[in-house]
């Protein structure tokens, strides 16, 4: 129901350098360069799916999101969301989608969120009974209470995001685009929002597309991830498959009840953390069973946990690898050019 084929988005930007001379020169002539924010992306997302867009900063994630929501016109390629072409910005299309951006809000600043709800109700043409019903559900799920009657500027960031999310769902969109929705929020608020977003997807069957740098967001919400780097797709599939592909090792966290020489630990696997009484070993997936039995036999183990590698590490590993690949490519190309 979301289908993207060979999407490209290129910009022309002015080049600007620091320094007095460069500033004066720029009054008369300004070189431009082409930025390929998105450079050939394909994917399909079925209705009701939850997908995370991951990638380093400037990778093209937000650009892709904006193309999907009709805010940006693609340079080339075919995009279809629920059978509509987003760039045509048909009313029927706009009434079924919504965009939520962390740190930026659509709530009217000096007035209570309730006023923004009312405004959205009118703009999206939601009937009064439906509106009241939806509001009640949102109020229960997000525990808004009196917040909606206080001017937005008096709310804390977390309270604002809750109301922002409520305002976004007044018209019950079928596709929800979320751009870093939990950025800057405290941990408990992040958990509340994540739980709510997941529930919305499960109860209404809405499709969710989320971009985030927070791996807890991704882990909690996105069974499928699309990794975008430098405008190109570098992975599209289940999150677990990504982890297995990039960092197939598992971690063994051992609590030790007695002094243990390092040599004994290094024998079992790669030591990634070492504290008195505690060690974390990294072992290949297929070695896990074997290593556990050896550890229990050879070491004074009082507690044992098996974990996957932290997602942050998986991601930075992935980005580092693709960067190295690209550098290799450009080095090869440079070498050919020099010839």
């Amino acid at each position: 129901m979301i289908s993207v084929r060979d999407l490209r988005k290129h910009y022309r930007v002015h080049q600007r350098q620091a320094g007095l001379l460069a500033a004066v020169r720029s009054v008369f002539s300004r070189p431009t360069r082409l930025v390929k924010a998105v450079d050939g992306i394909d994917f399909e997302i079925p209705a009701g799916a939850r997908v995370g867009f991951l990638g380093p900063n400037g990778a093209g994630k937000t650009t892709t999101l904006k193309v999907l929501s009709g805010l940006l016109h693609p340079t080339s390629g075919e995009v279809s969301v629920m059978g509509h072409e987003p760039r045509r910005r048909e009313d029927a299309f706009l009434k079924r989608i919504m965009l939520v951006m962390g740190q930026k809000q659509q709530l009217l600043w000096d007035l209570p969120p309730a006023e923004t709800f009312e405004l959205n109700r009118a703009i999206y043409g939601v009937s009064m009974p439906q509106f009241r019903r939806t509001l009640k559900e949102l109020d229960d799920a997000l525990e808004l209470g009196e917040l909606v009657r206080k001017p937005t500027r008096q709310l804390s960031l977390g309270e604002r995001m809750k109301c922002e999310l409520a305002a976004a769902l007044i018209h019950r969109p079928s596709v929800l685009f979320l751009d870093e929705p939990t950025i800057g929020l405290d941990v408990s608020m992040q958990v509340i929002l994540r739980r709510f977003i997941k529930r919305y997807n499960e109860e209404t069957g809405a499709t969710l597309i989320l971009t985030s740098h927070d791996m807890d967001d991704v882990a909690a919400l996105c069974p499928r991830v699309v990794v975008i780097d430098k405008g190109r797709l570098s992975f599209d599939g289940p999150l677990t498959a990504l982890v297995r592909k990039v960092r197939p090792e598992k971690r063994l966290v051992l609590e030790l009840s007695a002094e243990t020489p390092d040599a004994a630990l290094e024998d079992l696997g790669r030591v990634v953390e070492r504290e008195p009484g505690r060690v974390v070993l990294q072992v290949d997936q297929d070695q896990v069973h074997h290593t556990i039995s050896r550890a229990l036999a050879q070491l004074p183990v009082s507690d044992l946990t098996v974990e996957g590698a932290p997602l942050e590490e998986v991601m930075s590993e992935l980005f580092a690898r693709s960067r190295a690949d690209r550098e290799g490519e450009s080095a090869a190309a440079g070498g050919e050019g020099a010839r």
Partner: protein, 267 residues
């Protein structure tokens, strides 16, 4: 000490602000266009003078007057009031207060960094003035031009300090923008920008001549068009620099107590 480090940082502050001033070409054009008011007034007053001189002004006299007004306005413009208001509202002012440079000095240097660009804009106008209206349109005495330089510097100081005083009001109240609008209205009316001060009727003119506004545009223009004698010019300069002193004191005082209030409310 804040003063010394401020002084040391000044050349760099100037350079950076200058780069900023010329960074956006479209803005420079927009901004030059928006100072076009004198030309509108020139058209208007020329129409009035079509049937005979108004006061001592013939149509050519108005031409000289308003072209000079444009030039002087370019050289003495200050917008620090709006800048301050913006920075207080967006929280950038707090960052400025953390720096070891007195903010008013900082603003002043930034403001002055726009002068080269403004001079570049007024140069063609000055050329037009001389070519179209002839050398008689402006004074030919070197002493006068020396006084003119002093008058322009004084005018710049009054305008800047007054603008800074109004801007300081944003430390006290949120709606200081309205006050700025009123200030600007009074300024355009009584400084000679829209109407030569001497054309105001006799009973109100003395009041206007005491107000600081006329020392910003009217005095430098009078000097450069040779409309006053050396003695009169000297007297006007004295009055002008007295006002500079007054505004210096007022602005710094307002700033000091404004800061206390700003700090008390957390900005």
């Amino acid at each position: 000490m804040s003063f010394r480090s401020g002084l040391r940082a000044t050349p760099t502050i100037y350079k950076v602000a200058f780069s900023e001033a010329i960074a956006y070409r479209a803005e420079m054009i927009v901004w030059a266009l928006s100072s076009s008011m004198p030309f509108v007034m020139l058209a208007m007053w020329s129409a009035v003078a079509a049937d005979g001189p108004v006061g001592r002004f013939t149509a050519a006299g108005f031409g000289a007057y308003f072209l000079c007004t444009f030039i002087v306005r370019q050289l003495t413009g200050a917008w620090v009031a709006w800048q301050m208001n913006f920075e207080v509202r967006t929280g950038v002012m707090s960052m400025r207060l953390l720096r070891p440079v007195h903010p008013i000095w900082h603003f002043g240097v930034e403001n002055a960094a726009y002068l080269p660009m403004r001079i570049a804009v007024s140069l063609p106008i000055a050329v037009i003035l001389l070519v179209v209206l002839g050398r008689d349109a402006v004074s030919s005495s070197t002493l006068m031009w020396g006084m003119w330089l002093l008058a322009v510097v004084g005018a710049w100081w009054i305008n800047f300090l007054a603008s800074a005083a109004v801007g300081t009001l944003s430390l006290y109240m949120e709606q200081s923008i309205r006050v700025m609008d009123v200030w600007f209205l009074l300024y355009s009316l009584f400084s000679g920008y829209l109407i030569p001060v001497e054309l105001f009727p006799g009973w109100i003119r003395p009041a206007i001549e005491w107000l600081p506004f006329r020392f910003i545009i009217d005095v430098p223009v009078q000097i450069m068009t040779g409309a006053v004698t050396v003695e009169e010019g000297a007297q006007l300069l004295l009055g002008q620099w007295t006002w500079v002193g007054v505004f210096l004191a007022v602005t710094l005082l307002l700033w000091k107590s404004g800061l206390k209030r700003f700090g008390a409310y957390g900005g």
